[in-house]
């Protein structure tokens, strides 16, 4: 049996929402090449909802699949709903991940949340600059 579930393989081989958003409303960057994975999430917010979510990911199959799944889960959600996306829910949606790869699911949620925080800070700082 391959180490990854079919769902993971599907998201890994056909990752959804890959890319950058120009003039994103929020950007979240987590990880570093030492640990092996890096993710940058870009969000576009409209009416408190994630109108668009994109990302770039450097990392293993799990990291890519997690990014893809997080982007799918997040898209269309309100910011509050999106903040509730947990590593566990990502793992569940992917029909599981090998134990050693669980940290990848942390990174995915973290990167999304970081992008949302970044959006909120920008809001605080200068109003709806790119609204």
């Amino acid at each position: 049996m391959p180490i990854y579930s079919e769902k993971v393989m599907d998201h890994f081989t056909n990752p959804r929402n890959v890319g950058e958003i120009e003039n994103a409303d929020g950007i979240g960057e987590v990880g570093n090449p030492v640990c092996g994975d890096m993710m940058t999430f870009y969000i576009k917010v409209k009416n408190n909802r994630l109108e668009d979510v994109k990302y770039k990911t450097f990392g293993c199959g799990a990291a890519i699949a997690v990014s893809s799944m997080v982007s799918e889960l997040a898209k269309g959600k309100t910011l509050e709903e999106a903040m509730k996306i947990t590593p566990e829910s990502v793992v569940n949606e992917l029909d599981g991940l090998p134990t050693v790869k669980h940290h990848c699911s942390n990174l995915g949620a973290q990167a999304l949340h970081a992008a949302i925080e970044n959006y909120k800070e920008k809001q605080k700082a200068g109003g709806q600059k790119n609204g």
């Binding site: 890959v18 030492v34 770039k56 450097f58």
Partner: protein, 398 residues
């Protein structure tokens, strides 16, 4: 598409296929000749003979004497036995050991265990090609050094080490010298007398023998503490009922390796050099790791910049190509290869590690197939890599 169905195994440094002749040599010991070689009745006779024949075949492969061969359960066991067993047997003379920075974990972690037991060890660096400088070994040797262990060839970067030169120094200083020849034996000529070592580890699954069998060659008269206590198998140096089928297979594999070595090497070097030359032409920002020439015949290793190894190998796998990587993500320990870091490569480059272990089955067509399927994979992963976008922006001078 037809090419989608192609299967190309290029991971012979992880393990080789078992040759049909090797398997045939094993089968009697899983059928009628199942006996225990220690037994005095006739059921013990054929297995005992098979063990002794294999001992000679293995000895012949490395230019040793049959009595100097101790069969073990893996290359790892051979290394553990050598490092711990030789150090423990010598501890009255001193408690210091020298290893290189790019040893296999079975050597490095054995040295760490010795540390827990009150020994000390020094790690000798390597140059950017992974080569140990014998003079660095000389410098690392102290008055209480009792053992030096430097591998003959590295499995991750293929580099072959100057064992002969190092042996001159250990001999001069009267220190035992073990070499981990697990990746080398069966793939390049290995002669214990030529090398001048005192102990040498090898494993069958590196030269088309079965998994689960290794051997330690130990120069006659060299004292060692057994790792496995118990009965008096292997002259009391490695207790436990012997894996006769596996040992018979190792013997056959050793014989075939000896006889076919020249031809195998010539073929492998040809396609390896082709891969090493062509891959950097098809894919930009690729670094060849290990020594460009002085490397194992079937060994080609690279770092592909801006992307990570596991995702490459998974996409290669989807194309039917089996390779491996030394990236942090592929190691279950989640650490980048200590070997690649020892070459001075930064983490982000080490993460892009890709290792091809070419075997006797492989052809130039297999390499052409890799050269066809890899570039789009790299391109696709780079398109989604934040490191690559940063690089592009920098290039544009942003």
């Amino acid at each position: 598409m037809k090419t989608e169905m192609k299967k190309v195994y290029l991971d012979n440094m992880a393990t080789t296929p078992v040759l049909p002749d090797v398997r045939r040599a094993m089968l009697p010991f899983l059928t009628e000749s199942f006996g225990n070689p220690s037994c005095l009745h006739e059921w013990g006779d054929v297995p005992r003979d098979a063990m002794e024949a294999a001992r000679r075949q293995v000895a012949d492969l490395i230019g040793g004497n049959p009595e100097e061969i101790i069969f073990t359960g893996s290359g790892t066991e051979s290394n553990n036995m050598a490092i711990k067993g030789l150090a423990m047997a010598q501890q009255k003379k001193g408690k210091h050991v020298v290893v290189s920075a790019i040893e296999h974990f079975s050597v490095l972690n054995s040295a760490k265990t010795l540390e827990k037991w009150g020994f000390e060890y020094t790690t000798v660096p390597v140059d950017k090609n992974g080569v140990v400088n014998p003079e660095d070994v000389r410098k690392a040797i102290r008055s209480d050094t009792i053992l030096v262990s430097i591998m003959q060839a590295n499995g991750e970067i293929g580099t072959i080490e100057p064992i002969k030169e190092i042996a001159k120094i250990t001999k001069e200083k009267d220190i035992l010298f073990h070499t981990d020849a697990v990746a080398a034996t069966g793939n390049i000529p290995v002669n214990v007398k030529d090398l001048g070592v005192d102990a040498l580890s090898l494993a069958a699954n590196m030269f088309y023998g079965p998994k689960g069998v290794g051997a330690l060659w130990l120069k006659k008269g060299t004292r060692i503490m057994p790792l496995l206590d118990g009965g008096i198998q292997e002259g009391g140096r490695r207790a436990g009922t012997e894996n006769v089928a596996g040992i018979a297979g190792m013997g056959k594999a050793a014989e075939l390796a000896r006889v076919e070595m020249k031809v195998r090497m010539e073929n492998l070097i040809k396609i390896r050099d082709y891969l090493i030359k062509e891959l950097p032409l098809k894919v930009s920002h690729v670094i060849v790791t290990g020594h460009p020439q002085n490397r194992l015949p079937g060994h080609a290793s690279f770092c592909v910049e801006f992307i990570e190894g596991e995702s490459m190998l998974m996409l290669l796998n989807a194309k039917g190509v089996g390779v491996t990587s030394g990236s942090a993500c592929t190691s279950r320990a989640l650490q980048a290869s200590h070997v690649l870091l020892a070459l001075g490569l930064p983490h982000e480059i080490a993460q892009g590690s890709l290792l091809f272990g070419l075997g006797t089955d492989n052809t130039k067509e297999d390499i052409d197939y890799v050269l066809e399927v890899l570039p789009p994979i790299v391109e696709r992963l780079r398109q989604m890599s934040p490191l690559y976008s940063k690089f592009l922006k920098q290039e544009k001078g942003e």
